[in-house]
Symmetry: C2
Subunit: 246 residues, 2 copies
């Protein structure tokens, strides 16, 4: 890592998408400040995975900000609703039915405004670091139907960020670089993300994807996130190294 590298904030969940994003940011020449959140999620193992991934991929720093998303509830990931599973009977379906019919296209694992909140914190951290670059591992292909994973959202957040901050306003006045929200995976399939990550040297054995692991951290292999991960490795013609250690 060169001392002259420009700083970037990289949102890091401990899953394979954000690990690949961190590797991409490093490969693009940034000095990476990884940021994770303890937000009352069921899957706290992801924070241990995030620390391991940050270390493995040479992040300059890894910060974990504690935030109070549980105060509002409204998501299966923060414990108010059951995480739906593949091949599950009435129990899983009942949890879906807790949402009004018009909401049925967006899964109960959606956390209200989560990426907006995460990017807002990343923006504050970037401003303190005098950084204009923020990386987030969203993708709009195998993305579970979350509205805050789409290119239109990322673009709108970037515009807002440049109006919201001292660094955005002053850089615009001085013809310096604007704040950029990088979403390098946004148009990739899960299989392409896995291939990109491997090409960049990511050890996916350190990553953690399950929304609802057992107390020892073992993935359920049935939630949306486990299902997408397994399909991605299958499609890439690869074995998931995280499964070898289970």
């Amino acid at each position: 890592m060169s001392a002259a590298a420009r700083p970037a904030v990289v949102l890091l969940s401990g899953g394979l998408d954000s690990a690949t994003t961190l590797a991409q940011a490093r490969d693009d020449g940034y000095s990476c400040y990884a940021l994770s959140f303890d937000y009352g999620q069921r899957h706290k193992f992801e924070l241990q995975a995030a620390a391991a991934v940050a270390d493995h991929l040479g992040a300059v720093e890894h910060r974990v900000a504690t935030i109070d998303l549980r105060a509002f509830g409204g998501s299966a990931l923060t414990g108010d609703i059951d995480v739906p599973k593949q091949n599950e009977g009435a129990a899983g379906e009942t949890s879906q039915l807790e949402r009004p019919a018009s909401h049925s296209d967006i899964p109960v694992t959606y956390v209200p405004a989560r990426n907006t909140i995460f990017l807002s914190f990343a923006l504050g951290f970037a401003e303190v670091l005098d950084a204009t670059d923020i990386f987030i591992g969203v993708n709009a292909v195998d993305y579970s139907g979350y509205p805050d994973c789409r290119p239109a959202f990322v673009g709108a957040f970037e515009k807002m960020a440049n109006l919201a901050t001292r660094i955005g306003v002053e850089h615009a006045a001085n013809n310096q670089p604007a704040i950029r929200i990088h979403a390098p995976l946004i148009h990739m399939t899960k299989a392409e993300i896995i291939q990109r990550g491997l090409a960049l040297g990511v050890n996916f054995g350190l990553t953690h994807s399950c929304y609802d692991p057992d107390p020892s951290g073992r993935p359920c292999n049935r939630c949306d996130s486990c299902t997408l991960r397994a399909a991605g490795f299958h499609q890439a013609g690869l074995d998931d190294p995280a499964m070898a250690s289970v």
Copy 2:
């Protein structure tokens, strides 16, 4: 409060601007859910003031979300830098000098991305409540020079919010009301805000504005926020009821 009133989330700091905003939202016919933040601010007395104001103005609920802004530092309000005071000698000037020269127009009491973070949480809360209306008491006149108090910022946040959320996306698809960020004070002077608040029945004796009160909660009367408040009451030709109890 009628049972049929539409819900709104109102950001409430305990200061006079947000108290007036809450009164305005109630007067506009909303059923108000007040939201405050414990963000490691020096001026925690504002949280007690916020609770008193929420009660006084008939908020349906008052939630305090704990968030970790101190993790990043970078502001006088979160304790990293001295709060600058009027009529102060070298000490106050030194604290300003900690910022590069290009930053000198924006005061050290600016908290990086604060309103973006606050509005993001309000957005999550609104989504859980199935509310499309969020009120924030920013104003661009007597506003201390913060970039995230300007109309352009509020408009950009509103656009982003409608792309970020389930409620925004589904309402757009069904021709239902979009998410609106209401900033009813944005073009008012401090004196006008005080007059509006009084007309709406706000007891400003319950509000708290000082950035750096003493341990008993007594305002310093010298920080930007105290100075703006005093000038506002003076300009409105009124006495500040909060000063009577000091």
